[in-house]
């Protein structure tokens, strides 16, 4: 790539777009936002094509010691690369989803979204601890505005809850970061990932980071902001929230908690497993009884994130890879599901499941795509989530069969609530006349859903494209965690141990 600062360019394009959007009328703002996100997508594809798989761990590095105390340091590994790709892929879709539905203060809306994109890319690309924190925390501002200004009826409550919950989580992380920098004497994330903190300090540091990431993730019981935020946010807001923002928590565990505090992670492994098991089962059951489509999908997100956590804390390559693939897959699938909800919401202005029914008769194309995403969410073979869930559960099974058992139970429950949702919305008799009169997908909606469907199938059929860039990084992480890995409860090891003693 020569010396072209492509990551800075990817930050600058939406930033300039955001500023421009503030000063133009609605039509131009839409065009600018779409152009900026498409340019970023193009830059993202260039980034991926130029990423040297199997090359240096950190690529496209940029370093400027700009500020006192911390540096403007960017750089990506395979994990960050794919998450940046997810972001730049979903962003034009979000802009498209708001094309006609947002009519009020369009310029500010588009500016908020583009600013959001800057911050998310910044979070994944930051190689300086405090630069990361600034990007991580600043994301609260645009999201607060998106929910609060363009959200549903109860948007004020939801925006407060979102803001204060996530803020409380992250401020404790800041104190931990300050301590780490004081102790290690560097703010560089790659350096800190190899630094060994004292085991007793790791306990506290891990808990402080946990406070932040568990809320962002969100893990049960810190998830209560999520259904409110999702339900009240406009469709594109939900897409970006579920698609990308929820990945920040899991990314935090991958980038910080696991490599920086392996002992702390091992110490709290049962906390994570316990909460994740509860999350997988309890939120699935909650999702089963929802009447609101968005709420149902929001709860399903919590359940999926539970599987991600189980995979991450399996401490082996399969688990970590699986967790990462679910992160990507869930980003696409839940984003697409929220778009599907948005499609019918735009027509009928209700998210009440009972108000629909028999949509496969009058909206066959919609029903087909919705079915695909439903199946992907369940984890049907051939879709992205199957690969991830299979790997994650295979990974945890090597460590603890009970956690694997409960996790698998969650998959079954996932099938239950998703199929139940699909049956009530798309199958059955057309009980509501207005729902029966809804037209099928418009060209714009096709353009939004079809690319996601294609990528979901691509990930399901040939996951190697997505596993190759992260393989080296995951193996590095696995080596880093090897010393702290908890004992496995598999019989196999016991037999071997007995043989060894004889």
């Amino acid at each position: 790539m020569g010396g072209f600062p492509i990551l800075t360019a990817m930050l600058a394009v939406p930033m300039l777009g955001a500023i421009a959007c503030l000063f133009v009328d609605a039509r131009s703002a839409r065009m600018i936002a779409l152009a900026a996100t498409l340019i970023d997508l193009a830059l993202g594809i260039v980034l991926w094509l130029n990423y040297d798989i199997g090359g240096a761990q950190w690529q496209f590095q940029e370093y400027h010691a700009l500020f006192d105390g911390f540096a403007y340091a960017l750089g990506i590994d395979g994990i960050a690369l794919l998450l940046i790709m997810l972001t730049v892929f979903l962003m034009p879709i979000c802009i498209g989803a708001s094309w006609t539905t947002i009519t009020r203060r369009v310029g500010e809306y588009m500016a908020a979204f583009l600013f959001m994109q800057v911050l998310i890319i910044g979070v994944f690309a930051a190689q300086d601890l405090f630069l990361f924190y600034i990007f991580f925390e600043a994301g609260l501002i645009p999201m607060y505005l998106i929910i609060g200004v363009w959200g549903g009826d109860n948007r004020i409550y939801a925006s407060y809850k979102f803001f204060l919950y996530t803020l409380l989580g992250s401020v404790l992380m800041l104190i931990a970061m300050l301590w780490m920098v004081n102790d290690a004497g560097t703010t560089s994330i790659p350096a800190l990932m190899q630094y060994d903190f004292a085991p007793e300090a790791q306990t506290w540091l891990w808990l402080a980071f946990f406070a932040s990431f568990a809320v962002k993730m969100p893990m049960w019981p810190f998830h209560t902001w999520l259904p409110d935020a999702h339900v009240q946010a406009p469709t594109a807001g939900s897409v970006i929230l579920a698609g990308v923002l929820l990945k920040l928590g899991a990314y935090g565990f991958l980038r910080f908690s696991l490599p920086m505090f392996p002992d702390g992670s091992a110490q709290f492994v049962w906390l994570i497993w316990g909460l994740s098991m509860v999350a997988v089962v309890a939120t699935s059951l909650i999702a089963l009884v929802q009447h609101d489509m968005k709420k149902l999908i929001a709860y399903s997100s919590v359940a999926h994130m539970g599987i991600v956590m189980i995979g991450l804390f399996a401490f082996n390559v399969q688990g970590l890879e699986g967790a990462f693939i679910i992160m990507l897959g869930h980003g696409l699938v839940s984003g697409a599901l929220f778009l599907c909800v948005g499609v019918v919401y735009d027509r009928l202005h209700t998210r009440e499941i009972d108000r629909y029914g028999g949509l496969s008769i009058n909206m066959p194309a919609y029903a087909t795509l919705f079915l695909l995403f439903t199946m992907a969410s369940i984890g049907l073979p051939g879709t992205s989530n199957f690969v991830g869930e299979f790997l994650a559960l295979a990974g945890i099974y090597q460590i603890n069969s009970w956690v694997a058992f409960v996790g698998t139970l969650g998959i079954i429950l996932g099938a239950a609530y998703m199929l139940y949702l699909y049956r009530r919305v798309c199958f059955g008799a057309q009980v509501n006349a207005d729902a029966a009169a809804m037209p099928d997908l418009s060209r714009r909606e096709y353009l939004l859903l079809a690319p996601i469907a294609a990528v979901v199938l691509w990930m399901g059929i040939y996951p190697e494209s997505f596993l190759a860039p992260i393989r080296a990084d995951i193996e590095w992480l696995d080596d880093r965690l090897a010393a702290a890995e908890p004992d496995s409860d598999a019989r196999l090891t016991m037999v071997q141990a007995e043989e060894a003693t004889q």
Binding site: L66, F67, D68, G69, R105, E108, F130, Y133, I134, F135, E137, A138, L140, I141, Y144, L145, G148, V149, R155, I156, S159, Y160, F163, L164, L167, L168, V171, L172, L174, I175, L178, W179, N182
Partner: protein, 488 residues
């Protein structure tokens, strides 16, 4: 005479202020209110001159015995210099925006700029005090001017009440301070900070401890740290808005700098004697400031609680009891001054169709659609006050917490930062009212150039562009902290 010449050079900025002030008193006495505007301009120029005189000492990091004037009564080091720069800047800003406010209600008096001059002179002496007597002189000059400033609008009941309240409670605090000073003098045998530092270096006895506590209590009143904050909301609400802006910025800087010098220089060897008091005051201020602000409907009262809240964060820097802590505190003060001036300018721009001031928070409703520039600026200021990155207010919180963590005050840092989330609630509430609510349409009036210019400057500094200042500001603050005569 000759032996005083070096001292006179060191107090040049104070000389400029006092001579200008005295001359303007004559103008006011003979010329009356028709010279109000001119007086204001001359006073602003005097602040500019004093600023220019101080700036070199700050940039050069002046320290050591060369900065001591009048046989150890006065110190013009970089620490005092940096505080003076903030004080002069805030006072100058007050003079820029005040005329419009007072002319609208027909109360533009010649006394106003003169009182601001004398108040700033008092603060200047406070931050340079190297002796308990200088300290008290500066403090009283500042306080007496401030009491009159609070009661400027004689016809207005709220203003008179604010002045009276401020005076009674301020006099009580001065009495407490004086009592503490006399105890300290009695038990150490000296009023000089360096002498006190030597006397207490072997340990504090009960008398000295009482002296220290009374001094701290008196100064805590002046910076409105909880639990000595009760007067703040009433005085801030009642005083004319430009005066409130002045109270919230310049005297706070002066009193915090003074408190820092007393704690770090005079009692620096006995940090454990005052550290826990400062920690308690810091946490109480953060929590009371945050909780008190929640129910407010008047924007000036809200900003009063917000200033209490901010003082808590400033005290965290002091609690660290290290040079890094003092440096962090100075950085925080500088950013706080900018945010405060910016917020009050925004409040002053809230006018109804007739140009009368509006102070209700509810009147801000829907400002984003009716007055977008004002709303965006105020939003940036509010998020900055809440310490949300990438706005510059985050940097202030960042450095004080960094200092606290380096000083191993982890519990203080964790509780303080968790309590800052409570404060975030009312800052984002203002954003909510401006951006989410339906337009009330009461804010209509136009501002004039100084208002918008000041708001623009403050807005740019609190925006992410402010981070470009971090290296420079951090450097100045480090030199200021290094110039303090910290006992080893």
């Amino acid at each position: 005479m000759n032996e005083f010449m070096p001292s006179f050079v060191l107090i040049a900025p104070e000389l400029v202020l006092s001579i200008t002030g005295l001359l303007l008193v004559l103008v006011a006495a003979y010329g009356g209110d028709k010279f109000a505007r001119a007086t204001s301009i001359v006073a602003a120029i005097a602040f500019g001159g004093a600023f220019a005189l101080v700036a070199p000492t700050v940039c050069a990091g002046a320290s050591g015995p060369d900065t001591v004037a009048f046989g150890g009564l006065f110190r013009a080091d970089a620490f005092a210099g940096l505080a003076k720069l903030m004080i002069y800047a805030a006072s100058g800003a007050t003079l820029l925006i005040a005329p419009r406010f007072f002319e609208k209600i027909g109360w533009m008096k010649t006394e106003f700029p003169i009182l601001i001059l004398f108040a700033a002179l008092g603060m200047s002496i406070m931050v340079s005090a190297n002796d308990l007597l200088t300290l008290y002189m500066g403090l009283e000059l500042n306080s007496l001017s401030a009491y009159v400033l609070a009661a400027m609008l004689r016809d207005d009941e709220r203003s008179a009440e604010a002045g009276l309240k401020y005076f009674v409670l301020g006099a009580l605090a001065s009495g407490i301070l004086l009592f503490g000073m006399s105890l300290t003098y009695g038990f150490t045998g000296t009023t000089n900070f360096a002498g006190i530092a030597t006397a207490v270096s072997g340990g504090v006895n009960m008398g000295m401890l009482f002296g220290l506590i009374f001094i701290l209590a008196g100064l805590a009143f002046k910076i409105s740290a909880a639990p000595f904050h009760m007067w703040t909301p009433d005085v801030y609400e009642g005083a004319p808005t430009p005066v409130t802006m002045f109270f919230a910025s310049a005297p706070k800087v002066a009193a915090v700098a003074l408190l820092t010098r007393v704690s770090m220089e005079a009692f620096g060897t006995q940090a454990e004697a005052w550290q826990q008091i400062v920690i308690a005051a810091a946490l109480l201020s953060i929590i009371i400031g945050a909780l008190g602000a929640i129910g407010q409907s008047n924007v000036k009262r809200l900003l009063a609680y917000s200033s209490i809240n901010n003082v808590g964060f400033i005290l965290i820097g002091l609690a660290a009891a290290s040079a890094a802590g003092v440096s962090a505190l100075m950085v925080y003060l500088a950013i706080y001054t900018v945010m405060t001036v910016g917020s009050f300018v925004a409040v002053l721009l809230m006018r109804d169709a007739e140009g009368n001031q509006i102070e209700g928070i509810a009147d801000l409703a829907g400002l984003a659609t009716t007055r977008p520039a004002l709303a965006w600026a105020l939003m940036a200021l509010m998020f900055s006050m809440a310490g949300i990155p990438p706005l510059f207010g985050f940097w202030g919180k960042f450095v004080v917490f960094q200092a606290a963590v380096q000083a191993d005050l982890l519990a203080l840092a964790a509780i303080g930062i968790a309590a800052s989330v409570i404060g975030a609630y009312y800052y984002i509430k203002i954003v909510k009212i401006m951006f989410f609510d339906e337009a009330a349409g009461t804010v209509k009036g136009e501002g004039d150039t100084p208002h918008w210019a000041l708001l623009l400057i403050c807005g740019i500094i609190v925006s992410p562009l402010g981070y470009l200042l971090t290296g420079w500001l951090g450097n100045l603050a480090d030199m200021a902290a290094a110039s303090l005569a910290l006992p080893a």
